[in-house]
């Protein structure tokens, strides 16, 4: 089994179909789990009309590689792809893609979810969203971190 990682931080839209194709090639891997996160039109009680993502170049890639390495220590994985968009985005734009292949579907699902949970709590990305109030007036705000994301991480240390 050939272990191949693909990590990309991009300023333009990415293509989910192309990323899925990048996961192919291990004919022993019958299972492929994917996650795609997109810009929602509603968050924390407000209508959202746009989003911008700031990141820490250099640390971002190191952080994602460390997360993948730790996932590979836990499960038998084939290929792993993480793509994360930064910069300005519109509603429905894809923000993040995580794809994992494995001989076993439980490993593929678990690793995909583990990578997302860790990415959410430690990869250096910050969302700033443009919200409109009831009068239609737009304003910007930094998205607050969610306690539920930190809580999700705890299940991985419980085992």
């Amino acid at each position: 089994m050939k272990a191949v990682d693909r990590i990309e931080v991009c300023e333009t839209p990415f293509d989910v179909a192309a990323e899925y194709t990048a996961l192919q090639g291990n004919s022993g891997d019958g299972a492929c789990a994917l996650f795609v996160g997109s810009v929602r039109d509603f968050n924390a009680g407000s209508n959202v009309c746009g989003l911008a993502l700031e990141h820490y170049p250099g640390m971002t890639e190191k952080s994602l590689q460390r997360i993948i390495n730790d996932a590979r220590d836990r499960w038998s994985l084939g290929r792993v792809v993480i793509v994360h968009r930064v910069g300005p985005m519109q509603i429905n734009d894809e923000i993040v893609f995580v794809g994992v292949t494995s001989p076993h579907r439980q490993a593929a699902f678990a690793a995909c979810q583990y990578i997302m949970d860790r990415l959410k709590t430690e990869a250096p990305f910050w969302k700033r969203e443009v919200v409109v109030d009831t009068s239609g007036k737009p304003s910007e705000r930094w998205v607050a971190a969610r306690a539920s994301d930190a809580a999700e991480m705890e299940k991985w240390s419980a085992g």
Binding site: G37, L53, E54, H55, Y56, G58, M59, K62, S63, H84, I95, V96, M116, L119, K120, T121, E122, A123, P124, F125, W126, K127, R128, W142, V143, A144, A145
Partner: protein, 81 residues
């Protein structure tokens, strides 16, 4: 020389994204204290419990030792994905 970076809301609050410290030696905690002494108005933002720190692009705690040539970063909780 130590490079110090600030990101996201913290960068906006401090009004600066990057500074350099000459001749600093000590821990990450000492470095934060030094910055707050030099810029008293930074203190309420930089000393918040939820501010995270990185040393050479790895998450680090206040006890980590900083040496010349290192890159330090302060930032709020991450919100990617």
């Amino acid at each position: 020389m130590v490079k110090v970076l600030f990101f996201a809301r913290l960068r906006e609050q401090l009004g600066v994204g990057e500074i350099t410290l000459e001749d600093f030696s000590g821990s990450l905690g000492d470095l934060r204290k030094t910055l707050c002494e030099q810029h008293p108005n930074w203190s309420p933002h930089l000393q918040r419990d939820d501010i995270r720190m990185a040393l050479n692009q790895e998450l680090a705690e206040t006890g980590a030792q900083v040496k010349a040539g290192d890159e330090v970063a302060f930032f709020p909780p991450v919100t990617g994905g």
